[in-house]
């Protein structure tokens, strides 16, 4: 039996491959130090093309218009450049409406690729560029604490991590965040208020690390520029003990919040990296995936969703309260309770 692995590690070597969605240009060199929000590569993900109908513009049949075209494929254009004409008494002209590059010319048409804003691939974590992947991306390495979450809104930023005031019950609201938190990555148990998210963006905070939030907030969170990462899941849940302790230990330290969406088909997962100096014997996290007794696990479903425990033993096919029959495991929870869970509802912690 194997399972996916979630990393909640106080110190480890973190090595991440960062890829452009389409081939582009890598902007860094090997051994360069980068911050999480530094751009490491760029690409024209959404090229914008424009067809200029020269024949129509010059008032002649397309086949005659070709001889009046003044640009060739490959030419760079600046807004206002003459691309065809002049023609006739009125010296009729066609100018490029925007900056761009000529792609094709012929049949009375000019196809221009307009200059658009490139997609910028951010480093996602502070570290050293270890390898360049030609036209595609980079491999970055760092050492530090690593906490992986379950959901992110696709943004990346860094800042000093601070907890909400204790008296606030750790639920983020418009009344318990203020200007004093500007530029801070705020750590809170829960969010159930879209106004609080909007206010956090306006201040602005540099990031929001939540144990949980209401699923209703997903659409608004996706629109914000502020990175928001959910560690445990949706609803009203608190951080598991291990994460809580690790975050508390690292309060007031600089953290990188990489709230990229969890892509089940790649290794990309929302995570927090807290850069820490390396010790001599540090290695990358182990990728042992077998569920065996003694391994620490994270519970994935109700009623113990988010809790952490240790496998006592693997048992055979078991019937669970809902009636489902599946291979199970006996798990000693942090609370001291022993419960049986379907193996499919466990995720290894490493």
């Amino acid at each position: 039996m194997f399972s996916s692995v979630r990393h909640i590690l106080p110190i480890t070597v973190i090595r991440r491959e960062r890829y452009l969605p389409v081939p582009g240009k890598v902007l860094v060199r090997t051994q360069q130090k980068v911050a999480a929000s530094d751009t490491v590569a760029e690409a024209n993900v959404h090229p914008e093309l424009l067809i200029l109908e020269v024949g129509k513009g010059l008032g002649m049949p397309p086949e005659k218009a070709d001889s009046h075209i003044q640009c060739r494929a490959g030419d760079q254009l600046v807004e206002g450049d003459i691309v065809a004409g002049p023609v006739g008494f009125t010296r009729r002209l066609i100018r490029s409406p925007r900056d761009g590059k000529v792609i094709l010319v012929g049949n009375g048409q000019i196809l221009i690729e307009l200059s658009t804003k490139n997609y910028m691939l951010k480093a996602g974590l502070p570290g050293t560029v270890m390898e360049l992947i030609s036209d595609k991306g980079v491999i970055i390495e760092t050492t530090g604490a690593l906490i992986q979450g379950v959901w992110g809104n696709g943004r990346i930023d860094t800042g000093v991590m601070a907890r909400l005031p204790i008296e606030s019950d750790q639920t983020i609201t418009t009344s318990n965040i203020d200007i004093s938190l500007r530029g801070i990555v705020v750590l809170a148990q829960h969010c159930q208020d879209q106004q609080a998210l909007r206010f956090a963006e306006e201040l602005p905070l540099r990031g929001l690390i939540l144990a949980s939030m209401l699923p209703d907030l997903i659409p608004i969170a996706m629109k914000l520029q502020l990175p928001i990462i959910v560690i445990e899941g949706f609803g009203n849940r608190r951080f598991n003990g291990l994460t809580e302790k690790l975050l508390a230990t690292n309060e007031n330290r600089e953290v990188a919040v990489n709230a990229e969406s969890w892509n089940q088909y790649t290794a990309a997962r929302p995570e927090i990296v807290i850069p820490l100096p390396a010790t001599s014997s540090l290695t990358t996290p182990q990728v042992e995936t077998s569920l065996t007794s003694g391994r620490r696990v994270h519970i994935l479903r109700a009623p113990y969703l988010g809790e952490i425990g240790t496998i006592k033993k693997i048992i055979g096919i078991t019937e669970f309260p809902g009636g489902v029959k599946a291979p199970g495991a006996e798990v000693l929870l942090e609370s001291g309770k022993i419960q049986i869970f379907p193996i499919a509802n466990l995720e290894l912690l490493a």
Binding site: D216, Q264, Y265, V324
Partner: protein, 582 residues
């Protein structure tokens, strides 16, 4: 059919979103038999990110069960069977894992060829991201920009009846060609042209040098007639080409199967089509496969298949999107327990994150089953509308299906057979007389994949009790008050013994009839109730064979009207379960 000239062992692998299954078929007593299945979690996700690991684990389990070795020292499938008995003679595979294919449909007229191109796209797990037609008011550069932005995996183009329009079709495809030319070479989509056949050579020379173009018979050979069936095999081929590029490990299956890597939906559809061909009654066969990320619904009439995949209508990773298609209130309606909107939303959001996890509490199981009922309602509603349109029918209900074949873990691994049956009855709400068949081993996609190579195997396996006959269902429809008698049934058992029951409106009854035992039913509908015997009020004799649940009479009305009070609904559900489980 009982004597086989070539006795071949056959291995089929089906890679689903959650599970990978390896089925072994072999000849026993001159008949193909289903020998065993090995199952492993699919390993497309963390920590392997390659389906090969799951394939090997499923094969390891199969080896444990059968003692037969399938993988050689070179880590490759042993094919054909070696001297020591290891390996297999033939291999096929089906695959449904992976994100839905991103498809753009191109057609001339919106309600003719474009509509057919969209229908064809919906037969595989795909998302139709854009359409282009003659009526498209967008400028050519806007359309090119759109294609560059959406970066489709596949463009399905149709248009022009055979020998009909060609200039306009070419004009439309010019945009596609230009957009492909502007894309990086390794990101150009596959193109399937299923329009005016006259254009094939010309399109090959215009577009073939820019992007891979494939041709299928015209899906709209005349304005009135849609003909998708011949293009399924072409689409399946393109699907497997795309998947081998996208899914690490799929290339190996493609190689082992010599290109016969079939979309699971198409493989499942082939079995439903087969059932319709051997149907003894003049009805459509129906198949439903409820998966983690999508639901497949196949109906077929006399060998003509209508297939549709509903991406997002899944019970695992599909849950995150389900509210985009089904209103929350609809789902809540099907839940016998009081569950708040927030709780349901949390369930959907949390469980879409871990699609392979299982509902392990009573409450979670109740929610999951409520979702399944609603998913079935939605997909059958859309199919009924299409079928009625196709058959020019005006009645509220389609005449019914025979048989109803169901698969998918949520149905096959339900707590009991009564749960499976009740889920199907509540979700599909069949009318008239039908048979419920449960594919407990989820073998049908594998059979569909094998059918291309060895149709005899499929026929013999389907005749060998590999599918579980849950029971014949009689669902009378009409208008009467709850509690009014609507159907009288006289049962004559094989022994000659007789018994009678009177079925009341609103009730669910079960006739106990041991599995496989024949009986004759004399059905007499009352109050002009319709049981699908030709006209309202018409009855007659029906020969049945006992299913796992005997014979079921579902007189709960159509649509089933559930009590608004949760307590009353819970009581009813308990009663229905106890009837079926008794």
């Amino acid at each position: 059919m009982t004597s086989l000239v070539h006795a071949e062992s056959f291995l089929v692998i089906d890679v689903g979103s959650i599970s990978t299954r390896a089925f072994l078929f072999d000849v026993v007593d001159q008949q193909y038999r289903f020998i065993a299945v090995g199952v492993s979690p699919t390993t497309i996700n963390s920590p392997f990110f390659n389906i090969s690991e799951g394939v090997r684990r499923a094969l390891d389990q199969l080896q444990e069960f059968t003692g037969r070795r399938f993988i050689g020292k070179d880590e490759q499938l042993i094919i054909p069977v070696a001297g020591d008995g290891s390996g297999v003679d033939r291999f096929a595979a089906s695959i449904s894992v992976g994100k839905p294919l991103n498809i753009v449909a191109v057609g001339l007229l919106e309600d003719v060829s474009l509509e057919s191109a969209c229908h064809l796209a919906s037969t595989i797990n795909s998302k139709l991201t854009q359409v282009i037609s003659l009526n498209d008011r967008r400028k050519q550069d806007t359309r090119i920009n759109m294609l560059l932005r959406v970066r489709p995996d596949l463009i399905i183009a149709a248009g022009g009846t055979n020998g009909g329009a060609s200039l306009t079709v070419k004009k439309l495809l010019e945009t596609v060609g230009l957009a492909c030319y502007l894309m990086p070479e390794n990101q150009r989509p596959e193109i399937l042209f299923a329009g005016n056949q006259v254009l094939e050579e010309e399109l090959k020379s215009i577009i073939g040098s820019i992007a891979p173009i494939h041709f299928a018979p015209n899906i709209r050979p005349t304005l009135e007639r849609e003909q998708l069936d011949p293009s399924y095999v072409h689409l399946a081929n393109i699907y497997s080409i795309i998947r081998t590029r996208q899914i690490p490990g799929a290339e190996e299956l493609y190689r082992w199967s010599e290109g016969n890597l079939m979309p699971t939906s198409v493989a499942f559809g082939r079995i439903v089509r087969f059932l319709s061909k051997v149907n003894k009654v003049d009805k459509r066969a129906l198949g439903i496969d409820i998966g983690s990320s999508a639901t497949t619904l196949a109906t077929a009439y006399k060998g003509e298949l209508s297939l549709k995949v509903f991406p997002g209508f899944g019970i695992g990773s599909g849950l995150g999107e389900l509210l985009d298609y089904i209103p929350l209130s609809q789902i809540l309606k099907f839940l016998p327990e009081e569950i708040s909107e927030n709780k349901l939303k949390e369930f959907l959001a949390n469980n879409s994150i871990y699609p392979s996890s299982l509902p392990a509490t009573q409450e979670e199981m109740t929610i999951a089953h409520g979702l399944v009922r609603q998913i079935m309602q939605e997909v059958i509603k859309s199919t009924n509308i299409e079928n009625r349109k196709a058959a020019s029918m005006t009645s509220e209900y389609f005449t019914g299906f025979e048989p109803i074949l169901a698969t998918g873990s949520i149905l096959t691994q339900a707590p009991s057979l009564a749960h499976s049956a009740l889920l199907l009855l509540d979700g599909l709400q069949p009318v008239g007389i039908t048979t419920l068949i449960l594919d407990q081993n989820q073998i049908t996609p594998a059979l569909g994949a094998a059918s291309l190579i060895n149709p005899i195997l499929v026929v013999q396996i389907l005749n060998s009790n590999s599918l579980l006959h849950l029971g014949t269902v009689i669902a009378p429809v009409g208008f009467a008050r709850t509690g009014s008698p609507v159907l009288r049934v006289r049962i004559t058992y094989q022994s000659g013994q007789e018994s009678k029951i009177e079925v009341k409106q609103g009730s669910l009854e079960r006739i106990v009839l041991p599995y496989g035992q024949p009986a004759r039913l004399h059905l007499q509908p009352l109050l002009r109730y319709d049981i699908g015997m030709g006209a309202p009020g018409r009855g007659g004799d029906l020969r049945v064979t006992g299913g796992a649940l005997g014979v079921i009479i579902d007189a709960r009305g159509r649509p089933i009207r559930l009590p608004e009070k949760r307590n009353a609904y819970q009581d009813l559900q308990r009663k229905w379960f106890s009837t079926l489980e008794s």
